[in-house]
Amino acid sequence: MPEQDYRIALWRNTIQLFHEYKKSNFIGPFKASGFNYVVDRPFLTRQGDSRQPDIIASGETGWLVLELTANQKSKEAQLEKYKTIDPRYLGNYGLYPHESPPDIICSRFDFVDDGSFCQIFMKDFFDLKNEEQIANQHLKNELIKAKEMGLDLRKLPEIPITLLPEMNNPQEIRRGLIEIVMQLFAPNSDGKTPIQMVDEGLERLIDKIGVNEKHALMDRVKFHMEILIDNHLSGYLEFKDNAYRATDKFKQHHKTFEFVASRLKEWSGPSPQKTLQDERFQR
């Protein structure tokens, strides 16, 4: 199950709280509260200051600001700033309009002191702290119900976003690249530049990420792709003219497919990985 600083798992488990799955009898508390959501959209305060929380959601009973973080520092100051977001912009994103201030929740894996703000914990089983801060009674009831039943988060579906800014965990970055790399082996593929790979991993967050963050993520992608080419798929992949491409050694044959799949699994697997502090990355 999710290792430390596994941001994708944090996002996956939080996003799935807005959804329902029949076979596992999973109904997320936000889904049960009737919330719809948008991700990383710009809002303004009544004073005209810009705010862009990770998720804003709204339903008939109220609205909600969600901050997702793997940061070990307190988010109290940032959460405080969300209190003044102007709810009139909800309608711009097709969300249910309100006049009252939002409920604010911080989603984390492990406890970090975020002051009196409500926190939800997304590691394996749903947990909750400071629920008394939630004004929306309906939402509060659903969150408490999820906590009391120990809502299982371990087998929830992946989300389409596979890369996130500030990702640092090598396994997580490599897993986020697997199917993007596999596409390089498509017949007549033109290859992909590092920034294309980042954009594909960011998916719907593509135009919501700052230039510096994107550049830092691209450096990490290049680092891990270099290891893949040098140590795992040597001869099958190359970096040429600023693009990753399959070589002629790759054949459309099930044995080759199996070989490449096993090497990708080995590259992204749970064995101890080099970190960004590696000598090669410092160069």
Partner: protein, 247 residues
């Protein structure tokens, strides 16, 4: 919906050859030398016996003890070869103007039609419905980050699935890498070899979650559901947020 055994009837078989299969089976059943079991399908859409389809016999089973090994073959066939079909009738002023059967492998048999145009419109209508369902599913994918859920009525072998998709072989046309593994749950990432679109699949013993990032085609969902339903002789339903899609 009714399940038929493909080894005996194929949607490409014409009505007349099915009819002859019916007579042949009756003969086998009435011969003392050949003991077996004949299956007669009740025509659920027929208003009365007189209007029921004439070729309701879709499978037969018999004489398996006389030919060495035949019972084993038949048992395996029953497990391995199964497709779903749905029967449709169109009635105008009490008369059946169109009678058809639609199979899960994408084929259709028009059993009776008074008018060629009627038959062509029926086929076009089904294609349009499928296109509409795909469009609807695509909108769901773009609007939310929820996965498509495939519910299987029969259990699947996760180890066999994992080995199959790693090689990119099989009718599912998926090439996937396993990224997380537990006894009853696996996560996979890879590509749909039909389109080379990206695909994320999380698979349990009797369900799968399907996520298609970017602008990838959602067609993989009904395809996997259909093939899985056939391969395991079971039924597969597709849901998004608890609501059935591609119904």
């Amino acid at each position: 919906m009714t399940r038929i055994t493909r080894i005996f009837t194929d949607p490409r078989v014409s009505a007349s050859s099915v009819k002859s299969a019916f007579y042949r089976t009756v003969f086998l059943l009435t011969d003392d030398q050949w003991r077996g079991l004949g299956l007669k399908f009740s025509d659920g859409l027929a208003q009365d016996e007189e209007n029921a389809a004439n070729f309701s016999l879709k499978a037969y089973y018999g004489a398996n003890k006389l030919i060495k090994g035949l019972d084993r073959v038949l048992n395996e066939a029953r497990e391995e070869f199964a497709i779903y079909s749905a029967r449709w009738q169109k009635r105008t002023e009490g008369e059946v103007v169109l009678s058809s059967e639609w199979y899960s492998n994408g084929k259709a048999t028009i059993n009776r039609a008074l008018d060629v145009d009627e038959a062509l419109i029926s086929v076009a209508e089904m294609a349009n419905r499928y296109a509409d369902s795909l469009k609807e599913a695509n909108e769901l994918r773009e609007k939310t980050m929820g996965a498509f859920e495939l519910d299987f009525t029969q259990k699947i072998d996760l180890d066999a699935f994992s080995k199959k998709v790693a090689t990119g072989t099989g009718d599912m046309k998926l090439w996937l890498v396993e990224t997380e593994s537990e006894t009853d749950f696996r996560r996979f990432r890879g590509v749909d070899l039909h389109t080379w679109d990206r695909i994320l699949m999380d698979v349990g013993p009797d369900f799968a979650y399907l996520t298609v990032p970017g602008k990838g085609c959602i067609n993989a969902a009904p395809r996997i559901a259909t093939l899985q339903g056939e391969d395991n002789a079971g039924k597969t339903s597709i849901y998004h947020d608890g609501v059935e899609v591609f119904a």
